[in-house]
């Protein structure tokens, strides 16, 4: 179980003990149409050797959060506030150059579509070599050896020949393995995977997930896996945070979130997943409505326009924003509904349909 910061809005909290701790992170982009609040107060923490799954629909701020951890917003027009603590170092206020030295080194990231995320003009091997040499004082030859070694480690056959090939010459799954190799070449202690399997076939997905799991056991790194695919999260995550409109709405251990979810949005997500062992109904049950524009987040609870339990019993869904509040130890939910009502609603309305 991870230690969770129960006071989500408290910036000057107690000293951080987790390996990675994000406190009240805000990332806002000024645009001509107004301020886009991509990340609107997100907090979580993670220990080494553990995996956090961040789930949510497209546009909920998951990738922006991940990029903020990596410091990719530094030097852009984004406004960042809050704290990001990585192994005792605070990153938001840190110098861009210091964060750069950690990037790709202590913390690294793999991206969704490896075909577009890898540079088409350079061979796989040279791209891995580059990632290695920027953080280590090694000759090209030494770096090449290391690159081949990594390709082998991720399960690419004939690694010394294939290292000379270009990204477009790899199949989808092999490409993602290569990307993982590149991300791990410097033995990072934090690996962020942004939708790593979305662009892959189902069978290949499983292989990639297994690979990541193996590597975690071997290297003991912390993994954040960002996805909208609950099946993937279920496989690999220790903790899960559900994000909506730039905020976390439910956060807890994977068993809690999957078997005892207490947020209407999470219920909706779980209902949307098709299962072979479920009673076949005529149609899927999507969550009604669409995600809000981050320029114009609804007043009060961001989810309220789509929530069937809105305003029941006079709760101020349209007026006041709910904060993440603990419901059981290690499990927080941001919802105005009283906990008993939520559990009752879950057991009564939702669970039978899953």
């Amino acid at each position: 179980m991870t230690a969770i910061d129960a006071q989500a809005g408290n910036i000057q909290g107690p000293p951080v003990t987790s390996f990675l701790a994000v406190r009240d992170l805000h990332v806002t982009f000024p645009t001509e149409d107004g301020l886009v609040r991509s990340v609107d107060g997100v907090s979580f923490s993670l220990e080494k050797g553990k995996t956090l799954g961040i789930v949510g629909e497209s546009g909920c701020g998951k990738s922006v959060t991940a990029q903020a951890v990596l410091g990719l917003h530094k030097g852009t027009r984004a406004e960042i506030s809050g704290e990001i603590w990585l192994d005792g170092t605070e990153l938001v206020a840190a110098d861009a150059e210091d964060v750069r030295k950690l990037r790709g080194n202590k913390m690294s990231m793999i991206f969704q579509d490896p075909l577009s995320a890898l540079h088409p003009f350079f061979s796989i091997g040279s791209q891995i070599v580059e990632a290695y040499r920027i953080h280590h004082d090694a000759s090209k030859k030494q770096a090449w050896v290391r690159a081949v070694e990594m390709l082998d480690r991720v399960g690419i056959p004939n690694p010394s020949e294939r290292a000379r090939d270009y990204p477009h010459q790899f199949s989808g799954g092999m490409r993602q393995r290569a990307m993982i190799a590149m991300a791990l070449v410097n033995d990072p202690q934090l690996l962020i995977a942004d939708e790593p399997t979305t662009a892959l076939d189902v069978t290949v997905q499983a292989q990639i997930i297994d690979l990541m799991s193996d590597l975690q056991k071997e290297f003991g790194s912390a993994i954040i896996i960002i996805t909208h695919d609950l099946g993937v999260v279920a496989e690999i995550a220790d903790d899960v945070m559900v994000m909506y409109a730039g905020r976390g709405v439910e956060y807890g251990g994977a068993p809690d979130v999957f078997y005892s979810p207490e947020h209407p949005y999470t219920w909706g997500l779980l209902s949307s997943v098709t299962r072979l062992d479920r009673v076949r109904e005529d149609r899927l049950r999507p969550i009604p409505g669409t995600p809000p524009s981050l320029l114009n987040v609804p007043r009060g609870c961001a989810f309220n326009p789509r929530c069937t339990y809105r305003n029941t019993g006079g709760i101020p869904c349209q007026v006041e924003r709910p904060n993440l509040v603990a419901t059981t130890p290690g499990h927080t939910v941001a919802c105005h509904m009283p906990a008993e009502d939520r559990r009752a609603a879950f057991i009564g309305d939702i669970k039978p349909t899953l």
Partner: protein, 338 residues
């Protein structure tokens, strides 16, 4: 790759062949529409019909079109003999005919004028490539700032101002203007061969280079900026930054390589087109290059010169096309295997 090149070369040959036929055709069809006969331009004011006929015969214009075309084209490969009335002269292959106007081998004329156009084109192209691309990159990186907006406005001016305007303006100030500003006194007086006087060659070409380069640099700045902006938004740039690469490596190695591929393609074609003659610039600065040669030839309906310049120009462009395509395949590995 070799097979690819060979196929392209054969296609190129076909294109040049078709262009030669088209040019020949236009030359002869146009007078039927306008009612003129090029021979009239060479007989002086009171040309009697007998004299006109004599000139037509001397130029071979009284022969059937197909025969004229065949004579011209086979001369390119075999060489031809010409008479100047007194003696016969042999024009060795590749013989592009004898100019009606100058009574000189067209091949010789082209060889003579080509260094001028070459100097002009290469000098200007280096200037605009370096200048335009640099401005484009800076504008893209500093998008929305004053530098960006200012350079794009200047670029708009550059694209809108015709070469003859910029050229004459420069001449009026820096060659014929107030004595204190006459920094380039020998501009506008023609070409100075490099072997004869390197410094003179340089100063005489500086103003034409600037005029021509200004126009193209503006275009390339805008193009580079757009290409850079597009490239910087690509996923692999984000990956490069995520790897912890320095900003200058991300821009200089990852972004630039991809952003410049369309620039390289266009540059090859622009340069080849200019090598066929930068007509306006040559005219404004009295540079006797291929552009001037072709304009004079058209005015005097000097068919052999027109054909020669067109064929040479077509070959240059077609070859440039192939080179650029091959270059693209070298730069972008994805193209090689398609």
């Amino acid at each position: 790759m070799i097979r690819y090149i060979i196929r392209r070369l054969l296609g190129a040959l076909l294109v040049v062949f078709v262009i030669s036929i088209a040019t020949f055709g236009i030359y002869f069809i146009a007078p039927k529409v306008t009612g003129s006969d090029p021979s009239y331009l060479y007989v002086g004011r009171h040309g009697t019909p007998a004299q006109v006929a004599a000139v037509r015969h001397a130029f071979g214009l009284d022969q059937p079109l197909v025969k004229q075309y065949w004579t011209y084209m086979s001369g390119i490969f075999r060489g031809r003999t010409f008479t100047d009335g007194v003696s016969t002269q042999y024009c060795p292959a590749p013989c592009l005919g004898y100019s009606f106007q100058y009574q000189e081998s067209v091949t010789g004329l082209i060889k003579d004028r080509f260094p001028v156009t070459l100097s002009l084109a290469i000098g200007a192209s280096i200037m605009w490539l370096v200048g335009g691309v640099a401005v484009g990159i800076i504008s893209a990186l500093k998008r929305g700032t004053f530098i960006d907006r200012a350079s794009m406005v200047i670029a708009l001016a550059g694209v809108s101002l015709p070469v003859y305007f910029t050229g004459l303006l420069l001449l009026f100030i820096f060659t014929y203007g107030p004595p204190a500003l006459r920094w380039f006194p020998n501009a506008g007086q023609g070409y100075v061969p490099f072997t004869q006087d390197p410094w003179g060659w340089f100063t005489a070409l500086m103003l034409p280079w600037i005029s021509l380069a200004f126009l193209f640099a503006a275009l390339y700045a805008r193009l580079t900026r757009a290409s850079m902006l597009e490239t910087m938004g690509e996923d692999y740039i984000r990956t490069a930054r995520a790897k912890g690469l320095r900003s200058r490596t991300v821009v200089g190695k990852h972004a630039l390589r991809a952003a410049l591929t369309p620039i390289v393609t266009i540059f090859g074609l622009d340069l080849a087109g200019l090598l066929g003659g930068a007509i306006l610039t040559e005219y404004t600065f009295s540079l006797q290059g291929l552009g001037k040669l072709s304009i004079d030839a058209i005015a005097k309906q000097d068919l052999p010169v027109i054909m020669g310049v067109v064929i040479v120009g077509a070959i240059l462009l077609v070859v440039a096309n192939i080179v650029v395509d091959v270059l693209y395949a070298v730069i972008d590995p994805r193209v090689r295997y398609s």
